[in-house]
Symmetry: D2
Subunit: 312 residues, 4 copies
């Protein structure tokens, strides 16, 4: 019956209502908002991390980006610096390794001093039926996402506390951290762990001048995420169809939100978890949302049937 | 691609894995668990309310059921009493009306005294696009569900407190109270209100000896619910398909859970919200759960594509 | 033991770490962000509503504020207009009354046309033990907060849909909407209802060009809220003590967040619930957060005891 | 003002309202409920794990308990077997080690075959300011709680799927998994991860006949937990004071709930998260719950002040 209209062709045009929700990709905050601030972004060489770095750099921050691939970091740093005129530093670091994290922060300290803004954005993920996951497959993801975030956060926290310096921490998780999701189970578990870590420290470390907040992005096309989550490209259609705003997000949109959350405009925000997903989560989770497929004529018929029902 | 298998025929057989999850409909708690207890159940004449009344009565409770249709209540009461040997009282009551609620409780006081167990189960609901909802349509649902529950709960609470009598309160809400859902918006809003009411009182009225808990049922076929939520019967297929346990719930299963929660085995449970839905909620909410449609061969192909991806 | 330090004197200075979290009260978004936009704010004459109106007006919006007290609205409108140079319109409206809401929107339509931004901010609240609440006391709050929000939202939604006009809706709820709270039970229930309403419509009405989001503020001193929630002023100390950022929020901080959420920078945000509370919620909710009272010497002792524990 | 009554003496008697909430420690389910079933319980030698094992054994299950200390396991197994007449097997296993987990399950397979019930209960925890946590301290907890649970669950899941055998999984987490909590941060993060793991698999593995549910216990005195979370014993007073039911929980109460959730009475429960905490969580989280300290006379004064307030 109302299932007949489900199948969308691959590459179908965006749903018409997406025109109500145009992406604004310019920088939102006032120029200079991050002057004299240092921002540290893990995974800042690619995807969303790169977009956040670009925005913070445009707003005056000295950025330090860290991940495993030094050449990727260097190229990104140069491109951003030449665009914004502000220095972007690079430090090679595998966040799974506590020593590497410690060395990375040593290096940052000598380059820029301790940061005012920390964005834990590095992650790994791939789709896989859970019965095919080995212990190593499990650890490949959770070691980066949960342990990596913890090592970076705890090490920086300790040093900031010792130096009596305040800071704003941001973690990038995902909409399925809360609900869980099949087929990305190590990521779901690790991201949920990151959220608890951040909510816990928001409560514990406020007295040291630290804030901790979270963005849960919905689907935003980046090579890193989409090549491992939707290698065939077919799943994207399903997602766009159920996103109420009718489109994927843009890296620059996340970057504006992230910059706000890390800025002094948000000094009263701590322990917050902001879902930013075009409405996808509520649209999936609500039991009767599939009824959007019912046509006006079918509604008339259904209303008549409901009205004629007597009793329980 | 993997959308092709979506459409299920109407009346298709239950999915094979439902055999792992057979419903046990016998009474779970030890006989006599509710001896010398009085239970008050709104909407106890039909559907889930009737099932909970039956179970409590079998376990020794004196039950009082209340709703608008006296004849329905009376027939149910007789049928249950004759089955269990324990008296089921009936009181006509429209919970939307505070005076009616007060009279109803007066009547109960003279019949049985104040109750030990209170189940707020009465509700109304129908599917409707929100742009077709009038203020009266909105109030038709919220007045029963939210105000009705509040009037019953506050009036009983006051009298119990005055009499220094403890009690266990249970409210029946729904899985979409948390997420919201389109097309059942007054119900979603009112049920969310009920949950906040109960969590609030769990904290506030413990010192008077009261506990407050909530069950969020998933889909359980009752005439009252299904005739107004799925009048054509087509939606049921969609639900069964996405319920991990492969079937709808049974009224007797809710009744066993409810009896447990209201019994002395659960005196340490308060402020709890128990989702009981065959797994439907997590299945809908998780972003990648649709991948259960991917076949083993497709997985192999996808894995190869993911492995061959380099960088981000 | 570590309880001894609990009692704070009335009027004690802000905790020292509040210096890390200075409030920035200037307008955040680029000038003109709301040029040619119409914003409708209920309860816009006072408190947070007034602050949000001021910010939107400064950013170029034509604002329409509505509540019961016409003289309050008029004075606010004049003050804001003269400050920002942009017209602020006033419409008297009691949101509890669907006819009044309909007339109010008629009036707005003739003044400005249908709005692009709708902020449901009007509310009532007072602290009260629930056993002292009458049905009228219950309705005094829920009729404004839940029904009022629904009437405004549904009526505007219908007209916007008919006119094929997109819009961004924002509701102001509270941090205890999720957890519930004793002593403000009608407010907790009604605000939870508002959240479900908004999450539901975020899913249902995206296809009509509408977004729906929520701010849950923590404590921000306004006459309306504080005179009815903390009439003696003693509770404020308790709150500041447990807020990790060491201070109350400022209306201008909410206004910047609200303006962002309603702006085109956030067109991909829908169904989001943003807690903005200085970290109070996570600080209250976390079971072991009280241990911040343990002194370093006591920690040493506790660590020694823990280390010496053998087995389980 | 109302802070004066905060300090409770150590060893003060339970609050009077705890008499309304007596713990029932007898077994709840019908005898033989678990006849011919095999249950696997990690950490089954002590505390809550021991209590759950006892109850399942009394109900007819063949139990297998596993943890690091073989002698503790053996003593427990003998004591339970001699009490219930049903065999309790022991297998030494450090859940942090995937090989050990695999060997442990090999051993179980030869002893009893694959289990019908799996309870992931093993955990570690201690209170500690997060700035004192080393990477090893972090891993000491998360390796047991998150990785250990994942290794056990994934390994058993794979084998059960291969054998087309259904099973019911239960994980024991904690009330602060959701909110986070300072001073127990690795535990909070790891337990949140476990919850996401279980919700994810509830959605993904239903089709293989598996259910996944969670209990979040509040404080229940066990040597393992209390010696590391409240070594001085002073914190217990604080907890009891804020628990609405006025007392700690009992291991036998958790055991009855766990047995229900793993039994066929709950075959329709999957993806559920049950808070079982005497109401502590809602009591902590609700912003105005501290007002329970306000005396009736103070309420009268406050009401008069509120009534006399005019406007906003
Ligand atoms: N795009 C989406 O739709 C989406 C949705 C929800 C959440 N997210 C989250 O958004 C964040 C960014 O993702 P993205 O889409 O931008 O993908 P991405 O480009 O693949 O970003 C991941 C980054 O993490 C770095 N990284 C991986 N392992 C690392 C390690 N061991 N040590 C240090 N750095 C490491 C990578 O750099 P190297 O390879 O150089 O190490 C890479 O720059 C992630 O947290 C992701 O979970 C994305
Ligand atoms: N079945 C499901 O799938 C499902 C799922 C989620 C939640 N629930 C919830 O489960 C509960 C029971 O539903 P059900 O499926 O058993 O449907 P039902 O048979 O229609 O039960 C509703 C009951 O409420 C009573 N009621 C309605 N308006 C009333 C009023 N103004 N005053 C007093 N009583 C009133 C009705 O009796 P009168 O007509 O005699 O007044 C009826 O007995 C409801 O709270 C429902 O929201 C059900
Ligand atoms: N301040 C806080 O700490 C705090 C914390 C959490 C949430 N909030 C929320 O923030 C919002 C603003 O609160 P506030 O602190 O700014 O307090 P406020 O100044 O008292 O604002 C409430 C506004 O609602 C209007 N209102 C009340 N009843 C109405 C009705 N029947 N019809 C139309 N308008 C009505 C009032 O105007 P009239 O009297 O002219 O009708 C008033 O302007 C509320 O939703 C509140 O729940 C505030
Ligand atoms: N008691 C409470 O108040 C409370 C509250 C919330 C949650 N919980 C949870 O309830 C569960 C039981 O706690 P409990 O209070 O009963 O404490 P417990 O007696 O200390 O139980 C923990 C068990 O885990 C086992 N274990 C620890 N590390 C292990 C490893 N690496 N491999 C295998 N087994 C290991 C221990 O046995 P071995 O030492 O022999 O390995 C022990 O039997 C835990 O998940 C805990 O987080 C308890």
């Amino acid at each position: 019956w109302f299932h007949s209209s489900v199948v969308l062709r691959f590459g179908s045009p965006p749903p018409p209502h997406s025109k109500f929700f145009p992406a604004v990709e310019g920088v939102m905050l006032p120029p200079g908002t991050f002057n004299n601030r240092v921002a540290f972004i893990t995974g800042g060489g690619t995807g969303l991390g790169r977009a956040m770095t670009t925005t913070l750099s445009q707003l005056g921050a000295q950025c330090v980006i860290a991940s495993r691939k030094l050449n990727v970091l260097q190229q990104t740093a140069e491109e951003i610096s030449s665009q914004t005129g502000n220095k972007v530093h690079v430090v090679q670091c595998d966040v799974r390794n506590p020593q590497a994290v410690s060395h990375c922060i040593d290096e940052m300290e000598s380059l820029t001093g301790l940061p005012d803004v920390i964005i834990n954005n590095a992650a790994g993920n791939f789709v896989c039926p859970s019965e095919r996951l080995s212990p190593n497959g499990w650890k490949a993801i959770t070691d980066i996402v949960l342990n990596g975030t913890a090592f970076v956060t705890l090490e920086l926290g300790k040093r900031l506390i010792q130096n009596q310096k305040g800071a704003s921490f941001l973690a990038i998780t995902t909409i399925y951290a809360e609900s869980g999701s099949g087929f990305v189970v190590p990521s779901a578990s690790a991201k949920a762990g990151v959220e608890a870590l951040y909510k816990s420290l928001a409560a514990e470390w406020g007295r040291y001048g630290h804030r901790f907040n979270i963005i849960q992005p919905g689907p935003i096309r980046t090579k890193g995420a989409f090549s491992r989550l939707d290698p065939t490209g077919t799943f994207e259609e399903t997602m766009i169809r159920r996103i109420p705003t009718g489109r994927l997000g843009k890296p620059a949109e996340i970057a504006n939100l992230a910059a706000y959350m890390c800025s002094d405009y948000a000094t009263w925000m701590s322990g917050a978890v902001i879902r930013f997903d075009g409405g996808e989560y509520v649209s999936m989770a609500g039991e009767f949302n599939d009824l959007h497929r019912v046509t006006p004529d079918q509604w008339k018929m259904m209303e008549a049937m409901i009205r004629s029902t007597k009793g329980s």
